[in-house]
């Protein structure tokens, strides 16, 4: 088990998937010789040749639209959108075709297609390079949406996504790419659609995913000092949501805070909070709280620390969970 990072895990997963199935293709902007602007596809062209890992013309709708045609023909495309905001030109292909083709053809043209999107902020990038766009994908039936928070999940979820007969939007938290971890590959962490409890606790549940899992864990550490024993659930899959794991936790703790970096208004946390409330209402001591990015365009780097949810905000939300109402 050697020191690795999420970037290496993703690169390894792509390589292993291409070795395992020669129908697997990787393409997008700069993914070939350059190895991608984040080097996630590094070395793939060298190992598998230009026919299996190649640079396309610079056009995201084309990348996704041609991937549909390739998947129909029998390949298993894994495409890269260079940054979150640069997936938007492909939105029509995504919503009107990728998400719907299996349904429209009554199962005949399913699309084993993986769309990798580096997402989120915290890396000091200029505008349009830090969007947390996951809710657009969650809100589109036909898509599966997953996002890892550590290197093992990065590897395992990407392998599972590529193996899925359905289109998967695979969201890569940019700011975790280079975080060091110890993992041995290959690794499997369970089927798509399952959440993981990252920390056990009795008093309240923090629900997070991707880049915010670390924030939630840090908040749980800080909360322990104040006497709150917090559970942390890493969703891993945003569509479907693992209601079972989340609700089992909330029923035990009676309190929940959803933490994410995406905008709050009509953001992922709205669905998560609404589901928890529908399912656990009579176990809740307080309303589910949301700690999210503010509902403003992602700011320039100078102010991003004030935009991003942090431990302090999570603790404030935890503090608001009506502790005085509980018998001690």
């Amino acid at each position: 088990m050697s020191e690795t990072s999420m970037a290496v895990a993703l690169n390894t997963a792509l390589r292993d998937a291409m070795r395992a199935d020669e129908r697997t293709l990787v393409f997008g902007e700069d993914v070939g010789r350059l190895g991608g602007v984040f080097r996630i596809t590094d070395g793939l062209t060298a190992e598998f040749g230009e026919e299996r890992c190649f640079d396309t013309p610079l056009a995201e709708s084309a990348i996704l639209g041609t991937a549909v045609g390739m998947a129909v023909y029998g390949y298993r495309p894994v495409v890269e959108m260079q940054f979150d905001a640069f997936a938007y030109p492909a939105f029509e292909q995504l919503v009107s075709h990728v998400a719907k083709l299996r349904n429209r053809t009554r199962g005949v043209l399913g699309l084993p297609l993986t769309i990798r999107i580096p997402y989120g902020g915290g890396i000091g990038a200029v505008e349009h390079h830090s969007d947390s766009s996951e809710v657009y994908y969650m809100a589109t039936p036909g898509l599966t949406v997953v996002t890892p928070a550590n290197a093992a999940d990065a590897y395992a979820l990407l392998r599972r996504s590529i193996d899925s007969p359905d289109p998967v939007v695979f969201l890569e938290p940019k700011r975790l790419y280079w975080q060091k971890e110890r993992v041995a590959f290959p690794v499997d962490t369970g089927p798509l659609g399952t959440a993981a409890v990252r920390r056990r606790g009795r008093d309240a549940t923090l629900v997070a995913y991707g880049p915010s899992v670390g924030t939630a864990l840090a908040a749980a550490d800080a909360a322990a000092e104040r006497g709150w024993d917090l559970e942390v659930v890493d969703l891993r899959s945003l569509m479907p949501l693992d209601d079972e794991t989340v609700c089992a936790s909330v029923r035990r703790t009676g309190r929940a805070v959803v933490v994410h970096e995406a905008h709050g208004f009509a953001g992922p946390g709205a669905e998560i909070a609404a589901r928890i409330t529908e399912r656990c209402f009579y176990h809740l001591e307080a309303p589910v709280r949301r700690v999210t990015g503010f509902d403003v365009p992602y700011p320039a780097p100078l102010l991003e620390e004030h935009y991003l949810p942090d431990v302090g905000r999570v603790l404030d939300a935890v503090a608001s969970l009506e502790w005085e109402r509980v018998p001690a």
Binding site: A59, T66, G69, E92, R104, T105, L109, G193, D243
Partner: protein
């Protein structure tokens, strides 16, 4: 014939060896049946038996000529306008109309027919065609993709991206623009300032060919040549077929609002079915008896279709949840159970 940055734009008919008699008869029959289909489907739409029908009357030569110019294993990427193309491919006419009847999003099996679903979001199918063709090229298969698109839809970004992608990757695609002069109400002059739509090929470094879309033999030749070139590694071609939609955009449209007076009549004089028939009669490929036989067959075809349309489709509402994913995720299982319970309750009430 004019030259466009090294590529041929055919404005007039060059001399070509005549097609085999059998093929010419086949083209004729398909045109006549296609016309009968258009007539019958329009009638259905008037009778309320179709929710909507985008007729291709006047464009049958484009559709018949192109489909018969490619192999059954080549893939078609049709729009909503291509009913006659699909019929010519051999797809059951009831299945062709399934979309317009409000029955199913796609009435036929696209894999079995090598035909993508009829595509409504304009120009998006061009990318699917480019991708599938590129895949076939990579796999080393002799498969060509034939992508249909209208004049209006050439203004969409996806058209551009598809042509560029296909040209760069030498994907075996034939892009066939049926320039029927209108995008719903918007005439070509408001759609482009280019001399011709075929001129657009230059920007992608691919051959651009312009043909008389009301001459089925012209269309056949152009698509055949383009498909042959694509199959042998020569990359994509843009074919512009100049034609005219003789009916409104769909039965819901009112074309009197936007057509100049007399225009449709002028084009009716160049009716592709009539033209072909006259020519084949003159050339002795057909005689009046043969024509009568084809007419009778087309009439019988329409009558049979009409009879089959008497049965209204019935679908199990639980189909809603099928094929959204390869298996139902938990929240859809819950929703499906809810619908099932509703249906059971309604059934009990009956």
């Amino acid at each position: 014939m004019s030259v466009l940055s090294g590529y041929e734009v055919r404005d007039a008919t060059p001399a070509r060896p005549a097609l085999p008699t059998e093929l010419r008869r086949r083209l004729h029959r398909a045109m006549v049946v296609g016309r009968a289909f258009n007539r019958q489907a329009t009638a259905f739409s008037r009778q309320g038996r179709l929710a909507v029908y985008p007729s291709s009357r006047g464009q049958e030569a484009c559709q018949v000529g192109s489909v018969l110019a490619v192999r059954p294993t080549d893939w078609l990427f049709p729009t909503y306008r291509e009913s006659v193309a699909l019929l010519t491919r051999g797809i059951d006419p009831v299945e062709v109309l399934s979309l317009f009847r409000g029955d199913r999003h796609c009435g036929y099996n696209p894999r079995a027919e090598h035909t993508a679903p009829q595509c409504t979001p304009l120009a998006t199918q061009c990318l699917h065609a480019a991708g599938l063709a590129d895949a076939a090229r990579m796999a080393g298969d002799p498969v060509v993709a034939l992508a249909y698109i209208g004049d209006g839809a050439t203004s969409e970004g996806d058209f551009h991206e598809a042509l560029n992608y296909a040209a760069v990757r030498r994907a075996p695609v034939v892009f066939l623009v049926q320039n029927n002069q209108y995008a719903i109400s918007v005439p070509l002059a408001k759609q482009t300032a280019a001399r011709t739509l075929a001129d657009k090929a230059a920007g992608y470094g691919m051959p651009g060919v312009r043909v008389d879309g009301n001459d089925v033999l012209e269309v056949y030749h152009a698509v055949r040549e383009a498909a042959d070139r694509a199959r042998s590694g020569g990359g994509p071609t843009l074919v512009e077929a100049v034609t005219y939609r003789l009916e409104a955009h769909t039965n819901a449209d009112d074309d009197s609002r936007y057509r100049p007076e007399g225009e449709a009549e002028d084009w009716a004089d160049r009716d592709p079915v009539v033209r072909l028939e006259e020519r084949l009669l003159a050339e002795g490929v057909l005689d009046t008896e043969a024509v009568a036989e084809v007419e009778a067959a087309a009439t019988a075809f329409a009558a049979e279709l009409s009879a089959r349309f008497d049965e209204s489709p019935r679908r199990d509402p639980m189909e809603l949840f099928q094929h959204v994913y390869h298996q139902l995720p938990p929240h859809l299982r819950e929703q499906a159970a809810r619908l099932a319970a509703e249906l059971a309750a309604a059934h009990e009430e009956e």
